[in-house]
């Protein structure tokens, strides 16, 4: 089966307007009784005494998009969802900005809660996205999900 490759990536931070619009677009669907949202924000960690100023994200986009479509399809099947959406930033994202947005909807809350958590965990494990943590002294460390 040949599938359309959809783009889940956004250059730069994910704005609160983008998130608000996503909610607004779904409100016409009155079968939805529950939305669940996960937002990942770039944290100001400290690595060996140096403050993280941001993360530069890159991805193997063709493979990541395929994997994200597969994960969404799996999740729609496994949980009683109405919709599922995933967005991730590429490029340099300063600390305090949102870089990851998972958005699910269902008739009742248990499905949306469970699906969001499942999708976030699987994305961290399965999707080829790479992050370079930029440090205050202009050096960097490669981020590894644990």
């Amino acid at each position: 089966m040949k599938q359309e490759i959809k783009n889940h990536f956004i250059n730069g931070p994910i704005s609160s307007d983008f998130i608000a619009d996503a909610i607004k677009k779904h409100q016409v669907n009155t079968a939805i009784g529950a939305f669940d949202i996960f937002l990942g924000q770039v944290r100001q960690d400290e690595i060996d005494g140096k403050v993280v100023t941001g993360i530069e994200f890159s991805a193997y986009e063709e493979m990541a998009n395929k994997e994200l479509i597969k994960l969404k399809e799996e999740s729609l099947e496994k949980f009683d969802l109405i919709e599922a959406h995933i967005y991730h930033s590429l490029g340099s994202i300063p600390t305090g900005e949102v870089c990851f947005f998972v958005f699910t909807s269902s008739g009742h809350r248990p499905a949306a809660f469970a699906a969001t958590q499942h999708m976030v965990n699987e994305i961290k494990k399965r999707v080829p996205i790479f992050g370079k943590e930029m440090l205050e002294d202009n050096t960097h460390e490669w981020k590894v999900n644990r």
Partner: protein
């Protein structure tokens, strides 16, 4: 045969390349590519990565003409 190689993240930094096309003998597998990179790039054998052939993570060794082989360092999405 011709193999298209892709490097990402830390491995792109190490090799100074995002992508390269190599003309290799027909019996070349992943192990031969890794041997070549170990010789070429000083810290290659210290790196942690997964290998994807044609966008599927695999432990297979054999390659065929036109394959896309990606070396993927640890994931950091989210």
């Amino acid at each position: 045969m011709e193999i298209n190689i892709k490097f990402f993240g830390k491995l792109a930094e190490l090799t100074g390349e995002n992508e390269l096309t190599l003309e290799v003998p027909d019996e070349t597998g992943i192990k031969e590519l890794e041997g070549r990179f170990t010789e070429q790039y000083a810290t290659w054998n210290l790196q942690t990565y997964l290998v994807a052939v044609n966008q599927n993570i695999t432990e297979q060794q054999a390659l065929k003409n036109g394959d896309e082989v990606a070396f993927l360092p640890p994931f950091a999405g989210g």
